[in-house]
């Protein structure tokens, strides 16, 4: 495998983006930030790949307008996944592995506030028997949380602890939509939103976009003294059906974790849009108690659809660049109740990332 590193990252997250659902107005400045970080122009980018959803944008081919944000004259080597930024990055990583290109810029965007998100996401379900019932995202997550509570795998206090830590950490993140920790007791005294979930157990509806820059070998070393080398990236999917899988587990996360080396990980950025999902993920990843979880505040405080998973990779990479940690794991999820999961290990050295 070629050594490939994350060398650039830019993000925007906000409660309500005052612009088009294709987010071109957000992408142009994001690309500018990536060029500034790398010293490149768009002609230095060998491959482009984006992630977005037509249903979120309320139109077909929503990514077509987004491509215009690149400035594609002359034409570019470009692809798109109807998935989160993390999977767009995976496609770019593959492209670099073939040796066809040495660099890539991947991006994703979504304006969740343009519709009623929990209702839009009901259209992701099995269309013949489930969608007609319109089970919304929050209710499905509520069922998942309840399953774990009833099984004695976690309690409401553990969920509140996740929320309190996330809200406290979010105070230092300029992009977090919801922030301000208090105490576990105070959070538990708040009213139920979708029993057993309180509002702070659910990620806020967030608009946003993000971009990640990848480079291989010396191209990465030219950009940064401490590139965040990708030690391994792996992803799996579980069946969707809520009735046939154990909602308190995430086998696809466990499988992805087994395919990479998590030994010595100091920090984890986990894409858990609901507090109890972080508990599931920590268990499936087998993270030690001293691993720092979601210093960014995580998806619980800001969850822009289709970029929030990739933002976890960017947040982890930034902490490698700065020297704060030497090895980190980032995770992204997609689909209802943690159906599909990706795990990416980052390290400060090419050996350290994969060992």
């Amino acid at each position: 495998m070629r050594d490939v590193a994350v060398v650039g990252f830019a993000q925007r997250q906000m409660e309500e983006f005052d612009g088009s659902p294709t987010c071109v107005e957000l992408l142009v400045p994001l690309f500018a930030e990536c060029y500034e970080q790398t010293g490149w122009t768009r002609r230095d980018v060998g491959f482009w790949c984006s992630g977005s959803s037509d249903y979120l944008a309320g139109r077909s081919f929503s990514f077509v307008s987004a491509v215009d944000a690149i400035g594609v004259i002359p034409p570019v080597n470009e692809s798109h996944v109807e998935m989160d930024l993390a999977w767009a990055m995976y496609e770019a990583w593959l492209k670099i592995q073939t040796g066809e290109v040495d660099t890539a810029l991947v991006y994703a965007f979504g304006k969740a506030s343009a519709g009623v998100l929990r209702r839009t996401l009901a259209l992701q379900l099995e269309p013949y028997t489930m969608t007609p019932l319109w089970p919304d995202t929050v209710s499905l997550a509520g069922l998942q949380a309840r399953a774990g509570l009833d099984a004695g795998l976690w309690d409401e206090r553990a969920m509140a602890e996740v929320a309190n830590r996330s809200l406290t950490d979010a105070e230092k993140n300029e992009y977090s939509v919801r922030k301000g920790g208090s105490s576990v007791e105070e959070l538990l005294a708040r009213p139920m939103y979708a029993d057993p979930l309180r509002k702070h157990d659910c990620s806020p509806v967030t608009d946003g976009a993000a971009a990640i820059v990848l480079a291989a070998g010396d191209r990465a070393r030219e950009v940064r003294d401490r590139p965040a080398w990708i030690g391994g990236v792996s992803h799996y999917i579980d069946p969707m059906s809520m009735g046939t899988r154990d909602l308190t587990r995430s086998p696809s996360t466990a499988r992805a974790a087994a395919a990479v080396d998590l030994d010595g990980v100091e920090l984890a950025e986990l894409h858990a849009p609901f507090s109890h999902q972080e508990l599931i993920l920590r268990h499936e990843l087998g993270l030690a108690d001293d691993v720092r979880i979601n210093p960014s505040g995580g998806a619980l405080t800001s969850n822009p659809m289709f970029s929030a998973g990739g933002i976890r990779i960017g947040e982890a990479a930034q902490r490698i660049w700065s020297g704060e940690v030497s090895k980190a794991v980032a995770h992204a999820t997609s689909g209802p109740a943690l159906q599909q999961n990706l795990v990416c290990v980052l390290g400060s050295t090419t050996e350290g990332a994969s060992n």
């Binding site: 077909s60 593959l94 492209k95």
Partner: protein, 388 residues
Amino acid sequence: MTKQPAAVVGVGQTHHRAKREDVSMAGLCREAIDRALEDAGMTLDEIDAIVVGKAPDLFEGVMMPELFLAEALGAAGKPLLRVHTAGSVGGSTAIVASLLVQAGVHRKVLTVAYEKQSESNAMWALSVPLPFNMPVHAGAGGYFAPHVRSYIRRSNAPTHVGAIVAAKDRQNALRNPYAHLKNPDTTVESVLASQMLWDPIRYDETCPSSDGACALVIVSEDVAAASPNPAWIHGTVMRSEATTAAERDQVNPQASRDAAAALWKQAGITNPLEEIDAAEIYVPFSWFEPMWLESLGFAEENGGGWRLTESGGTAMDGVLPVNCSGGVLSSNPIGASGMLRFGEAALQVRGAAGEHQVDGARRALGHAYGGGSQFFAMWVVGAEKPSN
């Protein structure tokens, strides 16, 4: 590390129809998948990863349908990717699947692309009003008709060339058991007598709306050794250009020319007309055959394309047989149409195209485009292992 060789060892497709009411979306995909696996002599259990492609989700009314399909497609417990790059998506999806092998990550990859247009209404899905965008209100034919008129004007093409393409592809479709349209009586005269829809595009010069799917099994060199007739991937390319720009040439887009140049270079081809034995080119409206022939470098610009078509050069027995399967003009399950082109090219070099086989085909082109002619995906497959 360099690029690992990859080959197509299984090709499967559905019987394409206007409405496949006998199957669900999952059933439609499985029909293609099961045929591809049978062709490859493999079971679903052996597959390492699955790549799904389709055009806009609004075409069926399900957001990211691969999530609910995961289990039916055999993807549960495996990696699954979902590609969406407009009309070129079937081709792009095959390319992403081949990347998984070429990158050395997986050895046996299954890819499937589909469209079940009868679940929804494609015309509606493409007509959602957008702020600050000029409404077309004319479907794809209305969008492309000015490009065709421009080509005819530039190249001084006789107006019956489009009809030659339509009659040829409909006759070719009679040799393809999976084709949607089976119109044995279609001739150049009958095409010219059909209703004018978007001048100069007549009814018989347009593609149908189809339900259908296509699946490919793409494997590494060691796995391909067990196949009697692998189609080796000699080159893949994707290019995109701007949707709206004053300097855009929609008749012969730069992204198309750039893609072709990069593809021929990768595949070590210097004279495509001589070195390619069969081509499956994305032709949703008849006139795009001569237009793409020029853009791809098979013929001189501004007239070489229509002369090649008019001379019979693109017929089954011509110098460059184009769309022996009947092409998009005979079957158009949008998301799958590009993969059908890629898969039909593979069938040709495997000697497995049945009644529409080109004798002795050794190298073939699979081509797809999408959007308003700004997205391109292409590959070259060959009977021999690539030397580069």
